[in-house]
Symmetry: C2
Subunit: 338 residues, 2 copies
C-alpha cells in the first residue's frame, strides 16, 4: 500500500485562481476489490477546462467538489491488477486526477485505456494523441470542415489544442494562421509547428488593431476559426471572416475568472452568414477512434512534433496550472510524477 500524495480543491476562487485554493495531502492507497486496478501515474495533464470546474456556477459539467482530488487526465502503468484484461506493466491512460496513484474500476467502459508506447511517447497520450488532440480534431473536422485552400485561424496556437488544429489543417491543404501571445510563441508556431503565419495579440491594444494584423496574415480572409480564448481576439477575427465562415467554440479562457466578456459585433454573424458552434469533446466519443488514429500517425511519423512543458512532482501542479491559465507554458502542460 504505497503512500499517495494528492491535491484537493480546498476552496473556490474569488476572481483569479491562486495556489491557496488547493491543498496537498497524503493518504495510503486502499486494497483492491475485484475488477480494480492500481495505476501509478507517470504524468498528470493540466488543461484550461479545469479552471471552469473550480467555479460553482452553472456550466456544462458539475463543479469540482470541495475537499476531493482535482479532476485530471493521467497516463501511467498498472502496478497491481484484479481485472483479467490488465496486467502489471501495462501502459494506460485515464482520468486519475491530481495524485500519484489511482484505483480504477477497469470494468467501467472508458475508465482506462491501454496505449502503445512503441511509436508515441507515453506523455503524448495526454496531449496530441489524447483529449486535446481529439478536441482539435472534432472542432476542425466536424464544425469547421475546411476545404483545401481555405484559411483556418486558431487562437492559443502554441497550446496543446491549437498546435493540433494547425497540424490537422495543414494536412488538409489549408493556409493556417495562429494567434499567440509573445514573440517566442509566435516563432515556435511558425518555425517548429509549421504554421503559415502567426499573429502576436500582445502587440495590439484593441481588436481593430488586431484585425488589421489578421488582414495581412490572411489576405484571402478567414474561412474557419478555432476559438480557445474569446474576448478581443474573437472580436478581431469576426471582422475578417469571409461569407459562410465556420467558428468552432472550444474555449473562452479570457472569461474564466468571471469578468464580463461581451462580443462587440454579433451582427457579423448575420452579415457574413457565419455558423458559430460550441462543443465539448467528451460528448462526441464516437469520433475518438478515427481522430486518435490520424493524430497517432501524425505524431508517430514525426510530421507533428509538439513541445511539452513539464513541471516536476505533484506539489508543483497548482503553480504550473496557474501558469497555464496565464499562458506561461509552451505547448502541452504536464506534471511529471515519477
Amino acid at each position: 500500500m504505497p503512500s499517495n500524495q494528492q491535491i484537493l480543491l480546498d476552496n473556490r476562487p474569488q476572481g483569479e485562481a491562486s495556489t491557496s485554493n488547493f491543498k496537498l495531502v497524503a493518504t495510503e492507497t486502499p486494497a483492491l476489490q475485484d475488477n480494480q486496478v492500481l495505476v501509478k501515474h507517470h504524468y498528470l495533464s493540466l488543461d484550461p477546462y479545469m479552471r471552469g470546474r473550480m467555479n460553482d456556477g452553472k456550466s456544462y459539467a458539475q463543479p469540482q467538489p470541495l475537499g476531493e482530488v482535482m479532476i485530471g487526465g493521467t497516463v501511467g502503468e498498472v502496478v497491481e491488477s484484479k481485472h483479467p484484461r490488465y496486467a502489471v506493466g501495462d501502459a494506460v491512460v485515464g482520468m486519475g486526477g491530481w495524485q500519484q496513484y489511482s484505483v480504477v474500476d477497469a470494468s467501467v467502459p472508458g475508465a482506462l485505456r491501454k496505449v502503445d508506447t512503441s511509436k508515441v511517447p507515453l506523455s503524448h497520450y495526454l496531449g496530441a494523441v489524447g483529449m486535446p488532440g481529439v478536441t482539435a480534431w472534432y472542432g476542425l473536422v466536424k464544425i469547421i470542415a475546411p476545404k483545401p485552400g481555405e484559411t483556418v485561424v486558431v487562437s492559443a496556437a502554441s497550446g496543446a489544442v491549437g498546435s493540433a488544429v494547425g497540424a490537422l489543417a495543414k494536412a488538409r491543404g489549408c493556409r493556417v494562421v495562429g494567434i499567440a501571445g509573445g514573440p517566442d510563441k509566435c516563432a515556435y508556431v511558425k518555425n517548429e509547428l509549421g504554421f503559415d503565419d502567426c499573429v502576436d495579440y500582445r502587440e495590439h491594444k484593441d481588436y481593430t488593431s488586431l484585425a488589421k494584423a489578421l488582414k495581412v496574415a490572411c489576405p484571402n480572409g478567414i474561412d474557419g476559426y478555432f476559438e480557445n480564448v474569446g474576448g478581443m481576439v474573437l472580436d478581431a477575427v469576426l471582422l475578417r471572416t469571409n461569407a459562410f465562415a465556420r467558428i468552432a467554440v472550444c474555449g473562452m479562457i479570457a472569461g474564466y475568472d468571471g469578468q464580463p466578456l461581451p462580443l462587440a459585433n454579433p451582427a457579423l454573424i448575420l452579415v457574413n452568414r457565419l455558423k458559430v458552434e460550441g462543443f465539448i469533446v467528451s460528448e462526441h466519443m464516437e469520433v475518438w477512434p478515427e481522430a486518435l488514429t490520424e493524430l497517432g500517425e501524425l505524431v508517430g511519423s514525426g510530421k507533428f512534433r509538439p513541445r511539452e512543458t513539464v513541471a516536476e512532482g505533484i506539489a508543483a501542479a497548482p503553480e504550473a496550472f496557474l501558469g497555464l491559465l496565464k499562458g506561461k507554458n509552451f505547448g502541452k502542460q504536464l506534471v511529471k510524477l515519477v
Copy 2:
C-alpha cells in the same frame, strides 16, 4: 405608356432613417423590347432588410444605389407582354421596387413568377407565401430543425416572418413562444396566431428581467430561437437556452441604425454548446418550392391567417417603412398601389 410614380433613394441616413432620405418622382414607362413584360403593381412589400440596403457599409448585399428606385418585392398583373409565356392579366410576383409599374425581362430566371390566386390572396405572396414565409421556413426547418415537444421562441413574433415561424413550428408539434412589443401585439400573437405564449419585451428594462419572464413562458427551457431583433432580446434568450439549442439569425433590426449592439455573454455558446447560424433566404433558392408548397397549404386551408397592415398609395411608402422599423405595423406591412 402609363405614367409611373417611383420612389428613389435620394440620400443615405445618418443614424435613424427619415422620409427625407426618399424622393418621389414620376416618369413614363418605356416601350417594351422582346421578352419584356410590363407589370402593374397591386402591392409593394416593405421589409426590414431594406434598411440595411440604405447604408453604404459592407454587408451581404450591395447598397441600394442613390438616385435609383428603391428595391422591393411586388405583386401585380401583366398589362402588356412581349414574352410568349406571359399574357395580359397574369398574376405575377417579382422584385419591381417602389413604383407603380415595372418593366421586367421575363427571360431572366427568377425575375417573375406566376401565382395562383384562387386560394391564396395576391397580397400573401409578398408575406406568408413569399419571401418572408420562406425565410421563416429556412431558419426553422434547416437551422433550428425542431423536434416535436421542443420549445421554439421567435422575436418580432407578430411580423411577417415571426408569425410564419410560429405556424410552421406549431405544425411540427413544438411549444411556440413569441416575443413582441406591447400588449396588443402579444394578444394577437396568442389569440389569433395561436402561439402558446408571448412575452412583451417592453415590460422589461434589462435582459435579466426579460430572461425571468422567458423562464415562466418556457418552463422546459429554449431549444430553438429564431432571431429577428438582436440586442437585449438575444441576451435574454441565451440565458434560457438548453444544451444543444439552435439559433437561426435572420435579422438584428435593433442595430440597423448603426448603434453598437454587443452580445453580453457569448461564453454561453460554449457553456450550452449552441449552434448560432446566420442566413439569407435568397442564397437558398433550392428550398423555395418545398417551402412555398407548405406555406400555401397552411394559408389556403385557413390554418394560418396572418394579418396585414396596408398603407394606401406609393407616396405613403416611406412613412409606412419607417413605421415598420419602429414596430408600428401589425403583421405584414404592405403598400396598396391600385
